[in-house]
């Protein structure tokens, strides 16, 4: 219980200043672009050297290196820009990161085009590296921007090829790799451009679709985990409440326990002395004295019963009874309560009949409490029946077990019926010495077991005075009280 209470720490919900996973990945990708660019520069230099010296493809290498230096320079610039971005306010991050990403890719495509120009123009197969740029673009940019970049790439390449073919821009032939006349073959140029365009737009379509799906799922995961965190918080506070209630209930039960003991202790002592005197253990007493002592003892008994009954109510209502419940045999419950009452019935000359089916289901319940109910009903029946028979019935039904206590007694006036199970109700046609709590306690016990209790008087078509019935459900579904 204590651990539950102390455990009320909140689960981490994202503070406003922290970045969403989406912002985080965008920035991370820009960083990745910069790193990849360094690798790309290295790759260009390596490819140039290999092509030049290993494959003996002849082309001027100096412009290639110059372009590499240029790329390195703007990459440094982009690095500082990214650092600035990290400092900008949270709500600016996504738009600025997108803008930066857009320019990264424009720069890169431009650099690639320039490189292509110096390394053979349409003769250079590295033109298809534009696919990389499109994939990178689709990771962070809007769909429209990705398609725009495809178009930019196709236009740049087409212009390069066209200008070279037309002789407006000088063409560099990759000697030893491609025939020096090919750059003016229109059909070749057209074919290459079509392949490039299809490749780029196709890639853009597929990768934006995949990335979009991933983004949607990630948003969903974030949303769900936030909902989950809220639910967990609610649950924890509910557990805390339950713990507190249980603590309060335990305190109340402890209080009742002590109160019951302390109220009864002096009465028990008095009763002990009274009985010692009545029993003649302290010497002879006169009949008159004995009579008074016996009446005192009876009143003490009455008071003790009242204390027990009064303290029973909070015990049952606080749900203590549910803790006492276990699988019990109804036969035993009935047997025990009947045994207690049999003597009383016999001294009054009444017949006590028990009619229960041989097979009764075992149920979840508190045996002493159910005995208390049967005791109470049978005791009442005996008390209000001058002559005749008391019958106790129990039979299994579809969903429950039905108990009936039927007497041939004086019955219950109609005006009393509705108040029968209320606290402190005593019948108007009897000179009652009870606490008026017996039936109300019985009702609480039966209801705590998930059953129902009711009374009929007079019963239909028979000579009976009154019939008290109650049910106990077969399945263990104790009502929360």
């Amino acid at each position: 219980m204590a651990t539950l209470k102390n455990n009320s720490r909140k689960l981490p919900i994202r503070p406003e200043t922290e970045r969403t996973p989406e912002e985080e990945t965008l920035v991370m990708r820009l960083d990745m672009f910069i790193k990849m660019r360094w690798v790309a520069i290295l790759g260009v230099v390596l490819v140039t050297i290999v092509a030049r010296y290993a494959f003996n493809i002849v082309f001027p290498t100096l412009p290639v290196y110059i372009v590499c230096v240029f790329i390195a320079l703007y990459n440094l610039l982009l690095t500082t820009q990214l650092r600035e971005l990290n400092k900008s306010p949270a709500d600016q991050i996504i738009p600025s990161a997108r803008r930066q990403g857009y320019f990264h890719i424009i720069f890169d495509m431009l650099a690639l085009t320039v490189l292509l120009h110096f390394t053979g123009g349409m003769e250079n197969p590295f033109v298809y590296l534009f696919v990389f740029h499109i994939v990178m673009a689709s990771l962070g940019l809007k769909y429209r921007e990705v398609y725009l970049l495809c178009t930019v790439a196709v236009v740049m390449v087409a212009s390069l090829y066209g200008l070279e073919a037309a002789g407006i821009v000088p063409h560099v032939n990759l000697e030893g790799f491609v025939l020096p006349t090919r750059y003016q073959e229109t059909s070749r140029i057209a074919a290459q451009l079509v392949v490039l365009a299809v490749l780029l737009y196709g890639t853009a379509y597929m990768s934006t679709a995949i990335v979009g799906e991933m983004r949607r799922r990630r948003r969903e995961v974030v949303l769900r985990s936030q909902e989950l965190a809220e639910k967990i918080n609610e649950l924890e506070s509910a557990f805390g409440e339950i713990g507190k209630l249980k603590e309060e209930r335990d305190k109340l039960l402890y209080f009742i326990g002590v109160a019951a003991h302390d109220l009864k202790a002096p009465l028990t002592a008095i009763q002990g002395f009274l009985w010692v005197m009545i029993g003649g253990f302290t010497g002879e007493i006169t009949e008159k004295q004995k009579n008074l002592l016996e009446r005192s003892a009876a009143r003490i008994n009455e008071l003790m019963r009242l204390i027990s009954d009064l303290l029973d109510i909070p015990r049952i209502e606080s749900g203590q009874i549910v803790e006492e419940m276990k699988e019990i045999s109804l036969h035993q419950v009935i047997f025990h309560s009947i045994e207690v009452q049999r003597n009383l019935a016999e001294t009054k000359g009444l017949v006590l009949k028990v009619e229960i089916s041989k097979e009764l289901p075992r149920i979840m319940g508190s045996a002493p409490r159910l005995q208390q109910v049967l005791n109470n009903l049978v005791y009442n029946a005996i008390r209000y029946t001058p002559k005749g028979t008391i019958t106790v019935n129990a039979q299994e039904r579809e969903a429950d077990v039905l108990f009936e206590v039927i007497d041939t007694g004086i019955g219950i006036p109609p005006e009393d019926m509705s108040r029968l199970f209320q606290d402190f109700f005593r019948g108007s046609n009897v000179e009652s010495k009870g606490t008026g709590l017996g039936l109300s306690i019985s009702r609480r016990i039966i209801e705590a077991h998930g059953g129902r209790i009711w009374a009929e008087s007079p019963c239909h078509g028979t000579s009976c005075g009154s019939k008290f019935s109650f049910t106990l459900p077969k399945m263990s579904k104790p009502r929360k009280s």
């Binding site: 019951a260 003991h261 009864k264 202790a265 009465l267 028990t268 002592a269 009763q271 002990g272 002395f273 009985w275 010692v276 029993g279 253990f281 302290t282 003490i300 008994n301 003790m304 006492e324 045996a367 002493p368």
Partner: protein, 133 residues
């Protein structure tokens, strides 16, 4: 009737009442006011029966029953125990089982207030049983 009976109860009036009833029947009665004193008296007096209250200060009746399960008390274990308390029997048994995990092993159980006749009957039955053991 002969026999020595130890009565353990924190209420002196109950002790007196029980003692008067039992002494009228010829028993010798020794008393103790709590569990600790009760165990000491059990050792010193070796009674034929112990009448034990459950709710007491210092060491209650539950603790006494539990203590007697220990091997050190083996020779006193055959002394019959009669519980005399205002706690209902089912409540006591449930509590003892919850606390110790074993059943409350006592010879008889009487709820207060006790009728002298029932008390006398129970005491004589327990002592008879012990003698025939």
């Amino acid at each position: 009737m002969t026999g020595k009976i130890l009565v353990v109860d924190d209420d002196p009036d109950i002790l007196d009442a029980v003692a008067m009833i039992l002494e009228s029947q010829g028993y010798k009665v020794v008393t103790a006011r709590d569990g600790v004193e009760g165990l000491a008296t059990l050792k010193a007096e070796r009674p034929d029966l112990m009448i034990l209250d459950l709710l007491m200060p210092k060491m209650d009746g539950f603790a006494v029953c539990k203590e007697l399960q220990d091997a050190r008390w083996a020779e006193y274990r055959k002394t019959p125990i009669l519980i005399l308390t205002s706690v209902r029997e089912d409540a006591s048994r449930r509590r003892y089982e919850l606390e110790t995990g074993v059943e409350l092993d006592v010879d008889d159980y009487l709820e207060k207030p006790m009728s002298p006749d029932v008390l006398i009957k129970m005491v004589s039955t327990s002592i008879e049983k012990k003698k025939s053991r």
